[in-house]
């Protein structure tokens, strides 16, 4: 896998468009999607069928970011963490708690206006919320990576599981029922009107799409930067990284913090989208979902987890119709088969095949040139 990435990096850049042809086409399609849907169905882009499908896509965009954040940890840095839901949940709960309990309190007492008289209180408070999510995510990332200083590998995975589960238990503890709603979670979070996902579905659609694209570019940038290459080096051989003078612990924390930020933001988006934060967002199932999406799409590819998230969205939608309430059974069987037979996921396997085809081609052409 290492060769794959270095090859990608080494690829020459024949112009932005040509290099990313497919990606740009897909992006344009995604931007046009609501309007195409509304053309086909004859319903306005903010209602009916288009609205439903936009909803599906919004969910997909958010989960894609979440899956990518996991890929950064597992695929690139080689850290198997079972507490990833804690990041997601922390983002969701931070956003929801702030919007439910603190923001109304502040906005009822203070009004912040621009010189022109425009009321920007809710906007400002929303930005504060995003900042808070960032801070909480960074803290969570540092907290988790703190444990990895002394413990490694599968042993570490066990510890992340325990910490993650502790967060889950706390999120549904009855002690904080006044704040978190315990088992029920927080529902009907007062999302600022201008991004309310039910009223402004189309706007939210573009926001989520923008969010995914930005996070993808950001994470891609990270993985292709020198820092990102150290991540990969840690995955391949940590001792060697130490020998050439990098401190693996620092870089592991960096990976953790970056991943936590992405996961936390996606969690925050998720809570905005659902207008709720529930203990299920911090549960092991959420972690497992990240895992499944990443494995399904392809570990260490970033684009893979996006695909994985898309497939997962489709699976959960249709499997329920096909197999009834016990659809996870089918899903689990598929997951096992994937792990055993397709360990590099869809994208990874495709790249390996492509590599194989390429190698075959060069061998083929070499034969001819040698004969001359």
């Amino acid at each position: 896998m290492a060769e794959l990435q270095t090859q990608n990096v080494k690829k020459q850049k024949p112009g932005l468009f040509k290099q990313n042809q497919l990606a740009i086409i897909v992006l344009v399609l995604l931007i046009l999607f609501p309007f195409i849907m509304s053309l086909i169905t004859g319903q306005p882009a903010n209602e009916g069928k288009p609205k439903f499908w936009e909803g599906q896509f919004i969910n997909f965009f958010i989960m894609a970011v979440y899956a990518m954040s996991y890929d950064l940890l597992m695929g690139y840095t080689g850290i198997l963490s079972f507490g990833h839901a804690a990041f997601f949940g922390a983002g969701a709960y931070t956003m929801a708690l702030w919007l439910t309990h603190f923001a109304p309190l502040i906005s009822s007492q203070y009004k912040i206006t621009l010189p022109g008289g425009m009321d920007i209180t809710t906007t400002l408070l929303f930005i504060v919320a995003l900042l808070l999510v960032l801070i909480v995510s960074i803290l969570m990332g540092l907290f988790f990576s703190g444990a990895s200083v002394r413990v490694k590998g599968v042993y570490f995975a066990m510890i992340t599981l325990a910490i993650g589960e502790a967060f889950h238990i706390l999120s549904k503890a009855t002690d904080f029922v006044k704040w978190t709603g315990a088992d029920e979670g927080l529902h009907g979070v007062p999302v600022p009107l201008w991004i309310n996902p039910t009223q402004h579905r189309l706007r939210f659609y573009f926001m989520a799409l923008f969010f995914m694209v930005v996070m993808y570019l950001f994470l891609k940038r990270v993985t292709e930067s020198p820092t990102g290459r150290v991540f990969v080096a840690i995955r391949e051989n940590e001792n060697r990284v130490r020998m050439i003078g990098f401190n693996p612990a620092t870089y592991r924390s960096l990976a953790f913090v970056t991943s936590a930020i992405a996961a936390g933001l996606s969690g925050a988006m998720f809570s905005l989208w659902n207008m709720s934060a529930t203990p299920s967002m911090t549960s092991a199932v959420t972690t497992i979902n990240a895992l499944i999406m990443t494995i399904l799409g392809g570990v260490g590819t970033l684009i893979g987890p996006i695909l994985g998230a898309g497939l997962m969205q489709i699976f959960s939608q249709f499997f329920y119709q096909w197999f009834g309430a016990r659809w996870p059974l089918v899903f689990g069987l598929i997951f096992i088969a994937l792990v055993v037979f397709l360990p590099y996921g869809i994208v990874g396997t495709y790249r390996l095949r492509k590599q194989g085809m390429k190698a075959g081609w060069t061998r083929f052409t070499k034969q001819f040139s040698a004969k001359k």
């Binding site: 599968v154 066990m158 325990a162 706390l170 059974l329 689990g332 069987l333 096992i336 792990v339 055993v340």
Partner: protein, 495 residues
């Protein structure tokens, strides 16, 4: 003596700390609540130990983080409970499974012939796939049309020894329609065995000496198949009409054995091909946990069942002391002024027995010796000519069996439901981290520590009107502290 205190420094420190904390608690809490809390701590600790013992051995020897361990616990509970309450399901499925096993165990026998077949190398893979597909088809036809749900149907609170003991029994398919199914399964297994043996693959190592043993295994399994086909209807009745205490002991055994079989099957089929990719092993166990939780829900709905206690622990009233209890078998016993459920004492005893059993196994048998050596240096054990793969499978089976025994042991006092193992698995992980990988004694100490922490934590939480969730989450803090002091766990030696 000096040597002892030196080599057991950690142990002494831990017990010293526990003693100090215990004394402190004793004087602040008063005798009654102290005894009650300690006893429930011991109960919880015993259960944790049953889960953690298997985890730690499996992890120590093979570096496999088994996420399906909690599921094994749950499966043990379900199977034991089924045997105790309505054995029709187990008796109905047994012939099929045993027949399939008989087929598959022909593997070592067939290898000698199959590998000699003259098959073109390019076709080998296809033949293998074809065989597997055929096996699958045969297997599917073999089970097609059996109403497993009907076999499994059981009341949520089934009382099996007062009124009509046979009330839960489900009808079995008559022999005239059933007989071909085990045959098909046998066939399916044999086809699979051929596929595994590697047709035409001459590079495989042949174990000719094993052939004789292989014949015996296959013969025994086939005889067992025939027997289990014949007792499908009379068996469950006989079990239900049996003395309930004896039935309970048997269901402990059945639960543990099925758990062990589950573990062995999982290791041999899914874990083994992945030893080169450890991360994927973890994922596979995760998938297995996921799938089997769903399978259980398909069979028994996502409900919480209650298993009744055997009469040995359920005579009404309270025994005045432990000695009196042995003749009265009451539900509760008076221990130092505390009314305590007698069944929980049995759990503590079960945990202690398991510890003793493990200690004997690990210290006085060749198998235990190999495990201890393997925890330290797997490849060296292999280099000595010991078949590590078989050891791996056996250890996996042992670990799973212990967890399943824990599950069926716990079943009479916690609800039997699909996610009953999850919390135990989590705490089991923490115990393993605390105790150190691969050390069963470490697991015992860790379980004791954690059990006590939970019990006293619950007590404190109650006192300060907090929820028990707080004390559950706080066990993580104990883990964190111990990891800071000793990153390899209290008794872990492996880096």
């Amino acid at each position: 003596m000096k040597n002892f205190s030196k080599s057991n420094k950690t142990l002494l420190i831990v017990f010293g700390l526990l003693l100090i904390l215990g004394l402190f608690a004793y004087f602040t809490m008063g005798q009654t609540s102290f005894v009650r809390t300690s006893l429930s701590g011991l109960t919880i600790g015993a259960l944790y130990f049953m889960v953690a013992a298997g985890l730690t051995l499996v992890f120590g020897l093979m570096d496999v983080l088994n996420f399906a361990h909690g599921t094994t616990f749950m499966i043990g509970a379900y199977m034991g409970w089924q045997f105790f309450t309505n054995p029709s399901f187990l008796f109905g499925v047994a012939p099929l499974l045993i027949a399939f096993l008989a087929g598959i165990s022909a593997n070592t026998l067939l290898q000698v012939y199959v590998t000699q077949w003259k098959i073109d190398e390019s076709k080998r893979e296809w033949i293998k796939r074809g065989l597997i597909l055929m096996a699958l088809v045969f297997g599917l036809i073999g089970v097609w049309g059996i109403d497993f749900l009907d076999l499994a149907e059981t009341a949520m609170v089934a009382i099996t020894f007062t009124t009509n003991p046979l009330s839960e029994l489900s009808p079995q398919l008559p022999l005239a329609v059933f007989w071909y199914r085990p045959l098909l399964m046998l066939f399916s297994g044999a086809l699979l065995a051929v596929a595994i043996a590697g047709p035409g693959d001459k590079t495989k190592t042949l174990h000719v000496d094993n052939a004789k043993r292989g014949w015996i295994v296959v013969a025994v399994l086939i005889v067992l198949t025939i027997v289990s086909v014949l007792v499908r209807e009379s068996g469950p009745e006989a079990v239900l009409l049996m003395n309930a205490d004896l039935r309970f002991v048997l269901s402990l055994l059945v639960g543990a054995l099925i758990g062990a079989g589950f573990g062995a099957a999982m290791e041999a089929s899914l874990i083994r091909p992945l030893y080169v990719r450890p991360m994927y092993q973890v994922l596979v166990t995760l998938g297995v946990a996921y799938v089997f939780k769903e399978v259980i829900q398909v069979l028994w709905e996502p409900l919480a069942y209650q298993m009744s206690r055997p009469p040995f622990f359920s005579q009404p009233g309270k025994a005045d002391n432990l000695i009196a209890w042995f003749s009265t078998h009451n539900t509760t016993v008076d221990i130092l002024g505390v009314t305590f459920p007698s069944y929980r004492l049995f759990i503590i005893l079960l945990g202690i027995l398991m510890l003793i059993g493990l200690a004997i196994l690990m210290n006085f048998t060749r198998f235990g010796m190999i495990i201890r050596a393997g925890v330290q240096d797997r490849s060296m054990v292999e280099a000595l000519g010991i078949n590590v793969r078989r050891v791996f499978t056996l250890v996996f089976a042992l670990g799973a069996g212990l967890a399943a025994l824990g599950g069926i042991g716990a079943a009479p006092f916690i609800p039997v439901q699909p996610n009953m193992g999850d919390a135990f698995q989590l705490q089991g992980f923490i115990v393993v981290v605390i105790g150190g990988m691969g050390s069963y004694s470490g697991a015992a100490i860790g379980a004791l520590l954690l059990g006590m922490a939970r019990a006293f934590g619950d007590y404190l939480a109650l006192k300060f009107s907090l929820s028990p969730a707080i004390s559950e989450a706080s066990t993580v803090i104990i883990m964190a502290i111990i990891l800071i002091v000793k990153p390899s766990g209290l008794f872990g030696k492996k880096e």
